[in-house]
Symmetry: none
Subunit: 216 residues, 4 copies
């Protein structure tokens, strides 16, 4: 699962895999199309042919990632689980996704130049949807995240929590020397879920105390 590079017989897939791998480790801007083409064992021009340029690859990666995320959210809501179980399921499924397609997810998450106007048309929408889903999830557990004050704090916090492991990259293995096998990712999902749920409960109490204080 680690080296997804040359996998894929189709040139288009090979390009996608090679690019994702390189973007993940060096960053989108630091990777050249020639490098991608070499790794994918494909002629440089094919990148323009298939993806309409370098940015087209990034768009495809983000798009694919988001389609998978959307599926996870929608399938879980469809099950009508109790709030806590729903959240645990989502976290578990997201972790599973990241585990299997690490580099694609890392690229999709980290290579979204939120700020830049030239890109925002495409990506702002993507991110917004992502956030909307999380907001729905937090609503389920009866937290009034529609209060923008708390919502704007807790929602990014939750997303960051889920992806925290992957944002630090290989460094984690270096510092703690852990084996990141399936069992590890199970523990990761469970721990993060607990962290989120217990943390949110704490916040809930905090908000209620504040509200009572204001009512007096």
């Amino acid at each position: 699962m680690e080296n997804q590079i040359i996998e894929g017989k189709e040139p288009k897939e090979r390009i996608l895999n090679a690019a994702a791998s390189l973007f993940a480790s060096k960053g989108y801007a630091a990777v050249g199309v020639r490098e991608i083409a070499d790794l994918a064992q494909v002629n440089v021009s094919m990148i323009s042919y298939y993806f309409n340029g370098k940015f087209g690859i990034l768009k495809e990666i983000i798009l694919r990632y988001f389609q998978e995320v959307r599926q996870i959210y929608e399938q879980t809501w469809a099950k009508n689980l109790p709030p806590e179980d729903a959240l645990r399921t989502i976290v578990s499924e997201l972790v599973n996704l990241i585990k299997n397609k690490t580099i694609f997810c890392k690229v999709a998450i980290t290579e979204m130049p939120f700020n830049l106007p030239e890109f925002s048309d495409f990506k702002a929408e993507v991110v917004r949807l992502h956030i909307d889903y999380i907001k729905q999830g937090l609503k389920l557990i009866e937290l009034f995240v529609d209060d923008p004050k708390y919502g704007s704090i807790i929602t990014p916090a939750m997303i960051s929590l889920i992806f925290s492991h992957f944002l630090f990259g290989p460094l984690i293995k270096k510092v703690w020397s852990v084996e990141t096998d399936d069992e590890y990712y199970d523990l990761y999902a469970k721990t993060i879920s607990t962290l989120m749920l217990e943390g949110i409960m704490g916040i809930k109490k905090l908000i209620e105390q504040n509200n009572q204080g204001e009512q007096k």
Copy 2:
């Protein structure tokens, strides 16, 4: 506080501010030295003159950021506060730092190409120290983060939590339309602290249950 760009009379400071601002919004690799020089209203050559090249700017940014972080940690430990207060103080101080020097912190945090061998000599050390401090803090609250399994999950999670707001950038203002004033950042610090503490307590229970389960 947002646009710190042209601030600083000294050319060296202007370069640093301009570069930080651009790195923060476009990423290190996507920013050119000419762009930095233009924004800093300085001749291109001055970048090499003062910083020994583009990478020298990034090094300086990361270095300065880390010195501030180190100070926060050390000053707080020196106070010998009870664990919970210590953690709340650190979160509050870190949030304060990020609030005042948003772009510098964002660059320092996000532009550490952990993976790349050519950079690792310098940055791996920086990151490691950062993590060591957090580990010390978590130890204080009696959590056995020396167990690499949990440590490797919780430590990155805590760091991600603290910086979550800043990692999402201007997008947050767009989605929730909140005013990020001092009061907001106070609430942010308090909320994140609670999230962390309550979450960690939840994990603690989880671990204890697991240990009991194993003992039986």
Copy 3:
């Protein structure tokens, strides 16, 4: 024969010719790639594309020159001529080579930064081979150039003699106003050969006198 610049339909050859011409008149370090590209009527990038950078051109020039020289030496030894004839043949062939590919030879000979460590790997070997061949030739005429004292004086002297005309460049035409036609180069080869042979005979007598002096 003088202006070989735009000759060559292939871009690669045009670059090589343009570069040789410019290197010959201004020196390698003083010539810019843009200048070469302009003269070759080629895009700047093509230099890196074909030669892997500016230094690649110089390497190619030296390499080609040396292959021609090697051929001359080997073909002449193969003929098993009497020593004097062998030397005259070599001089004549070398002069012929320089006459036809003046600028290439000049660059190859003068642009070998013997001293610089960064280049030595490639060029020291080239020069050493050149010298080895000359040493063989001098051995043939029964001069004990293996005595490093004399060898280190006579070998460079011989090489300098052969190339003397070309090292001075266009200045010669200015000072003496001679027509450098084929007949001239024939005379040149014959004169230099005689200079070398008679000179060497003189040295031989000198050495013998010295040796007798020492024996007494």
Copy 4:
């Protein structure tokens, strides 16, 4: 005698020595003013101050070298020696000069961009004088070098012979591992003189034969 760099208390001399040393080993165009200033332990601006720019240093080096050469020629002619002795004296004195001021001579000899129009005003004159002196010397030994055919061949040949050892630089020591002490340079001067004289005598015979052939 080898490392003349930091010698000279006066900044101007230190610059000259440092520059000569660097020019000699890397070539004029490949040496930067900053490098010179560093080696001379002098501020960069001093180069413009004393020499009116980088080229001013080269001009000074060539000028000083040529003054020494002129002196050698004039002093020798003044002695009214027999032709052969005159030539041997000149070679010996020139070798002595090169031995003592190797780097200055090497720079002066090799860094004369004969061909370039922008420099020619200054250097063509220098070189022409040099050649004139040699021509006078050869006339003394009754060789009709005024015949431009032979003059244009023999004069450069003689100059090349004298400087041959120095043109090859450190490579000579590498290939033959000789100790270049005073004794060695004495032998060098004697050998080169013999090479020249015997060679020239051979040419003289050649010319006479040719002339007789034509007369018939």
